[in-house]
């Protein structure tokens, strides 16, 4: 290998100067972890402590960090410091981040499949587990959804008709509207961008509202709670983490909307918009998987 002159066409890769935001973010995560670690214990063991305050301070610090970091980022971007190569770095980074999110959900889907196809049938005596059933819980019968646990907790199934179907339709439509917002951005039709993005945000909010209502319905009317055995566990953790992602996605879209109102983004340069929209489509795909595996079958 040997070095030579660099081609003259090379666009300089922007390496930022020092920044305070990462260390602020590190302190924020520290406070969040310490706060959450104490708060969880205080809440569930009915103890006194400062967990909630530390957690709140951490979240507040994180918000400051996000605000400052993105402000710097937007200034640099608007200041024309970014090259096409840097844009590729951001896009690839976002794609790998979404891949990591896919794997996070995969862990919970894996738990769902294992419980449904292996753990529950085995407790009911399937495969070579006749004695497991006989010795541990002889009256237990395997079923899915698991409405009566071996320990005797009873619950009711969450139907796929109704709310869940409405929510599926809402999220699918929101993906389409966001796509047309993107098309509007690329064709420089700002009013299409504006309206479609706002519709997407509204659909996201409606989804979250219905999801919250579904939780109330589950707890109040169906007796389906987080403590209802493996069916309730997988139901609430999968839909719950999905709901958190929709919340985050909606916040991202709101920030994008505010930036659109300020006239940011051009038909060619709009990484932030693209990343937000990828994230939204990803969250949408997760919901479709969820609707199919958690609600329908």
């Amino acid at each position: 290998m040997s070095q030579q002159e660099t081609p003259a066409t090379y666009e300089k890769y922007y390496v930022p100067e020092q920044s305070i935001w990462p260390i602020v973010g590190a302190v924020a995560l520290f406070l969040i972890a310490v706060g959450a670690g104490n708060y969880v214990v205080e809440v569930t063991r009915a103890k006194d402590g400062y967990g909630s305050y530390i957690l709140a301070a951490g979240i507040f610090t994180l918000l400051i960090m996000l605000f400052g970091w993105f402000r710097d980022q937007i200034r640099e971007s608007m200041g024309g410091l970014y090259s096409a190569q840097l844009g590729r770095s951001y896009r690839q980074g976002m794609m790998w981040f979404i891949f990591s999110e896919v794997m996070f959900f995969a862990a919970f889907f894996g738990a769902l499949f294992y419980a449904r196809m292996i753990a529950v049938p085995w407790l009911g005596g399937a495969s070579n587990n006749a004695m497991t059933n006989e010795v541990l819980w002889p009256t237990f019968e395997a079923m899915w959804p698991l409405l009566s646990t071996p320990g005797g907790v009873q619950t009711t199934e969450m139907p796929w008709q109704g709310l869940a179907t409405y929510n599926t339709i809402i999220l699918l439509i929101s993906s389409v509207t966001l796509h047309y917002a993107h098309v509007g951005l690329e064709k420089n039709k700002r009013s299409q961008l504006n309206v479609m993005l706002l519709v997407t945000i509204l659909l996201g909010c409606i989804f979250l509202g219905l999801q919250a209502y579904e939780y109330v319905h589950a707890y109040r009317d169906l007796g389906l709670t987080l403590q209802s055995g493996i069916y309730g566990n997988t139901f609430f953790l999968l839909t719950g983490f999905h709901g958190l992602h929709v919340t985050l996605g909606t916040i991202i879209l709101i920030v994008l909307y505010l930036r659109v109102l300020k006239g940011h983004f051009t038909p060619k340069e709009h990484f932030a918009f693209q990343a937000g929209s990828w994230y939204w489509h990803f969250v949408d795909v997760v919901w479709v998987m969820l609707f199919f595996f958690v609600y329908i079958i």
């Binding site: 070095q3 990462p22 670690g37 980074g93 981040f97 990591s100 085995w122 403590q227």
Partner: protein, 540 residues
């Protein structure tokens, strides 16, 4: 840590190599701010490496407690609950605090220089992924002082040990693991994007140094499995505190489900800790054998094969959990298959040395020790893969011997080899060779006194993770402990050497440093300037 290194840097600025610094950049920031706010891949690499070394000493001190307790049969020094905390936190620190950050530090230092990039692709995120680590370990260590004690369920935190039977510090443990995971994922995204997007013109895939290749594949593994770890600790948290029953049969869950999810993360994780080591050895052996690496392409394909296979072998950690026979057979044969690409690597290293003009500088000594001792660890792994005999070996000291051979004489030796190999490039001065040789020979002898007898006590049935043992194991354990103390003390030689190196003592070195060294990083000045390749070189 920072002040020592900081003085060292000031020395450079006034030292012999002033021309090495780029003129059109702002001056290098000084003081604590340089390290807190840095976006420079070399600074961040240094931080990672020092952090990893400090954690190595902390985790090592815990191992000393373990070996002191096991020096004689009977309970003498610590109570069993504290002993369990020591084995647990020793494992967590060495895996997540020492080996992984050390490799990430090496990636930070080397990947941009090897592919001709000006820095990592996302420099600010790079800083964030480092600085959250010390905080995560501060939380983990602080949890040892919480009422009821720290985590005592083993680094694998099997349910129900971590759910039903753990102390309330488990919540802190869970959140600190979350932060470690976030750090690893961000670090891995940075490495992968840097390699995909920042290669200099002409640096085609099959010209990349093997260290870069192995780290690319490692980064992929990290992004794929660290989120799964986050998922499983979250389930532990909800099982323990919020009444879910993922790992409780009474609610329709299964404790074995924990093991499946954990090891789906855990097996790729052990390759995360060895693939970069393969890369390092593949850089060092050709230099000191003065021959091109034998079978470059097969090395790349072997690395990729090992990575892919790592996703379908996880249940070989669970042969005794009562899985159906078909599963036991599948995981046994899939595991044995891994020895094929691993064997390709070992044979390639040997073939590289065959009829080479070998010399035995310190990095080469560590690399050679790696090849021999890692192979011993690999072979005992092959023994453990055989399902019927694993019923005898499972949870004995044989397993402890196996994974310490691959992780200490494997991963850790490779990191030491890497530090000796590239340290002169980083500081511009040759390290103290006498101390380095003392470090090598003391470590080599003591590490084998430490870990080799564990094979025998394990085969004879001594269980792991106990503070007391049957009398017939007493003699072997005495020697194991003596080896352990000696290995621990040997690392203090390394500490002295590193401090001297960071104070820039020693003979100046040439740009190439080692006679047979090839690659972009050996074409830039020694010490490497603060900013390299502002405009990319063209690689032919």
């Amino acid at each position: 840590m920072s002040s020592a290194t900081e003085h060292a840097t000031t020395d450079v600025a006034h030292g012999h190599d002033e021309h090495a610094h780029d003129d059109h950049h702002h001056a290098i920031p000084t003081g604590i701010k340089r390290w807190l706010f840095t976006t420079n891949h070399k600074d961040i690499g240094t931080l990672y490496l020092w952090f990893a070394f400090i954690m190595f000493l902390v985790g090592g001190a815990m191992a000393m407690v373990i070996r002191a307790e096991l020096f004689q049969p009977g309970l003498q020094i610590v109570d069993p609950n504290f002993f369990n905390q020591m084995t647990t936190v020793h494992g967590l620190i060495m895996v997540f605090g020492a080996v992984m950050p050390a490799f990430t530090g090496l990636a930070n230092w080397l990947v941009p220089m090897m592919i001709g990039a000006p820095d990592m692709a996302l420099p600010r995120m790079n800083n964030w992924s480092f600085w959250i680590l010390p905080f995560a370990f501060a939380i983990l260590l602080a949890s040892l002082f919480v009422e009821g004690g720290g985590p005592a369920f083993g680094w694998t935190f099997y349910a129900p040990l971590s759910t039903t039977y753990s102390s309330d510090s488990t919540a802190l443990f869970v959140f600190s693991v979350h932060i470690m995971g976030i750090s690893s994922i961000m670090g891995a995204i940075n490495v992968i994007v840097t390699i995909f997007n920042m290669r200099a013109p002409g640096m085609t895939w099959m010209k990349m140094p093997l260290f870069v290749w192995t780290w690319l594949i490692t980064a992929f593994l990290l992004i794929a499995v660290m989120p799964v770890l986050a998922g499983v600790v979250t389930m532990v948290l909800t099982d323990k505190y919020f009444g879910t029953s993922f790992f409780d049969a009474a609610g329709g869950g299964d404790p074995v489900l924990f093991q499946h999810i954990f090891w789906f993360f855990g097996h790729p994780e052990v390759y995360i800790m060895i693939l970069p080591a393969f890369g390092i050895i593949s850089q060092i052996i050709p230099t000191f054998a003065r021959k091109k690496l034998f079978g470059y392409a097969s090395m790349v394909y072997a690395t990729a094969s090992i990575a892919l296979l790592s996703f379908i072998v996880w249940a070989h950690h669970m042969f005794t959990t009562g899985m159906p026979l078909a599963a036991e057979m599948f995981f046994m044969f899939a595991t044995m298959l891994i020895s094929v690409p691993t064997g390709v690597k070992v044979f390639n290293w040997v073939a590289t040395m065959w009829r080479g003009s070998m010399t035995f500088e310190v990095p080469m000594l560590f690399a050679l020790a790696f090849i021999v001792l890692f192979t011993i660890g690999g072979l005992s792994g092959l023994m453990l893969a055989i399902t019927p005999v694993d019923f005898q070996y499972h949870d004995t000291y044989f397993v402890v011997a196996h994974f310490h051979y691959v992780l200490v004489t494997g991963a850790v030796f490779s990191i030491m080899a890497a530090v000796y190999y590239w340290l002169p490039k980083w500081t511009g001065k040759m390290f103290d060779i006498t101390l380095a040789k003392w470090h090598f020979w003391c470590s080599l002898i003591s590490v084998n006194v430490l870990f080799f007898p564990m094979h025998f006590v394990g085969l004879a049935g001594m269980p792991r993770r106990i503070p007391d043992y049957a009398l017939q194991f007493a003699d072997f354990n005495k020697w194991i402990s003596i080896g352990g103390f000696a290995f621990g003390l040997s690392q203090l030689i390394f500490l002295a050497l590193l401090i001297k190196a960071c104070r820039k003592q020693g003979e100046p070195v040439s740009d190439q440093v080692w006679e047979g060294a090839e690659g972009l990083e050996w074409e830039i000045p020694s010490p490497a300037p603060y900013h390299t390749f502002d405009t990319p070189p063209v690689v032919k």
